[in-house]
């Protein structure tokens, strides 16, 4: 894969992953680009199906339960109380310091899952999630 040189970012807060795995690539290209009229196109077995099964619809109840779980798991702690506007304004001044770690990464990974042949790389780890519904079914 051709990737131009990536400089290490100064403060290290800006993440700059290189798209390398299948999941990254699907996310970038899915449904993008010039569309060619169906009547001049040739269908190629398999290739068109991809855009369909790459989608995963997350049921809203599951999403709610995940947020409830994350909220309950949370160890409440006092937070510095700066809102984002102040943080952004701090750019003119010295900026924030210190390092936040260990936050649960709740990034929705809707795409690129469900492919058996994908190479899972560490940054693509699905959001930490235990399916409450499944656990309920098993334990009772």
């Amino acid at each position: 894969m051709t990737v131009t040189t990536q400089r290490r970012s100064g403060g290290g807060y800006l993440e700059r992953p290189k798209p390398s795995g299948l999941a990254d690539v699907i996310e970038i290209i899915l449904d993008k680009g010039i569309v060619i009229d169906a009547y001049i196109r040739v269908s190629l077995v398999g290739i068109e199906l991809l855009t369909i099964d790459a989608r995963i619809v997350i049921a809203s109840v599951d999403t709610y339960l995940r947020f409830a779980e994350a909220t309950n798991r949370l160890d409440l702690y006092e937070h510095g109380g700066k809102d984002l506007g102040e943080m952004v304004q701090d750019l003119q001044g010295g900026g924030a310091s210190g390092k936040a770690e260990g936050a649960v990464q709740g990034v929705k990974r809707a795409l690129g899952r469900g492919h058996s042949d994908e190479d899972e790389e560490e940054e693509k780890r699905p959001a930490k999630k235990s399916s409450s519904a499944r656990r309920r079914a098993e334990s009772r």
Binding site: I29, V42, L44, L50, F67, S132
Partner: protein, 247 residues
């Protein structure tokens, strides 16, 4: 190439005088070639129409070819999986009828590349704000964490719904703040996903190559300024997948 069992797999549209990277191969390791029509050309390679599809390799090859093309000059990607029967149809049915539009598009894309920017909340930090700021959420949280999951199912759904709504609101606000800061350093943007409970920003940005360093520096500073609440993730530069237009 006029073989009846073969078609042409399309990658993208480039200016007629575009250079191809030496030895560029695409799907099935076949050489990529240009088919010119007036001011524009299509980057294609032959593909066996009877082949079983090796989807993973095809996607990666498509992406790699467009990446390589976009390093040399403007390219308007064609949607993945587009195959035409032969060279004549590429030229006469695809390129020539839209030559003017493609040429204009390529002029706009010249000297510019795409970055994808995604912003997500540090979930624990923002959840703590949400709990602290909403008495009903606080109360539901206290109640449901003591009970077995079965007994509190309805309350937990309600709790999650409220939290989700709060997160949605914060995402929208924060998205506006961030974009206000970033967009002046771009020449175009396309929303890939609207702000949602789990995501603040997911946008494609078109950036002048000449201003890339400054653009990245602005984002680095922004990422540092907001790092307590928000993570910023920048992917690129890449081919302008989100700026090739519809239809």
């Amino acid at each position: 190439m006029a073989d009846t069992d073969e078609g042409l797999f399309l990658y993208g549209v480039v200016p007629a005088d575009a250079d191809l990277p030496a030895g560029l191969t695409g799907v099935d390791d076949r050489a990529v070639e240009l088919l010119g029509a007036g001011r524009v050309a299509a980057a294609v390679n032959p593909i066996d129409l009877e082949r079983s599809s090796g989807r993973r390799a095809d996607l990666l090859a498509y992406h790699a070819v467009l990446d390589a093309l976009s390093e040399l000059g403007p390219v308007a990607p064609v949607q993945f999986g587009s195959v035409l029967p032969d060279a004549a149809s590429v030229v006469e049915e695809f390129l020539l009828p839209q030559e003017e539009r493609f040429a204009e598009l390529l002029e706009e894309l010249a000297g510019r590349r795409q970055f994808n920017l995604r912003a997500t909340h540090m979930e624990d930090v923002v959840l703590a704000e949400v709990v602290a700021g909403n008495p009903e959420i606080r109360e539901l949280r206290e109640r449901t964490r003591e009970l077995p999951e079965d007994a509190s199912y309805a309350d937990r759904v309600r709790l999650g719904e409220l939290v989700s709504g709060e997160l949605q609101g914060r995402s929208s606000e924060d998205a506006d703040l961030l974009l206000e800061r970033v967009l002046p350093h771009t020449v175009g943007y396309a929303v890939r996903a609207e702000p949602g409970p789990a995501q603040v920003i997911d946008v494609a940005l078109l950036v002048d190559v000449a201003h890339t360093e400054e653009f990245v520096r602005v984002l680095e500073d922004l990422a540092q300024a907001v790092h307590e609440r928000i993570r910023l993730r920048l992917v690129g530069p890449m081919a302008p997948y989100d700026f090739a237009g519809e239809g």
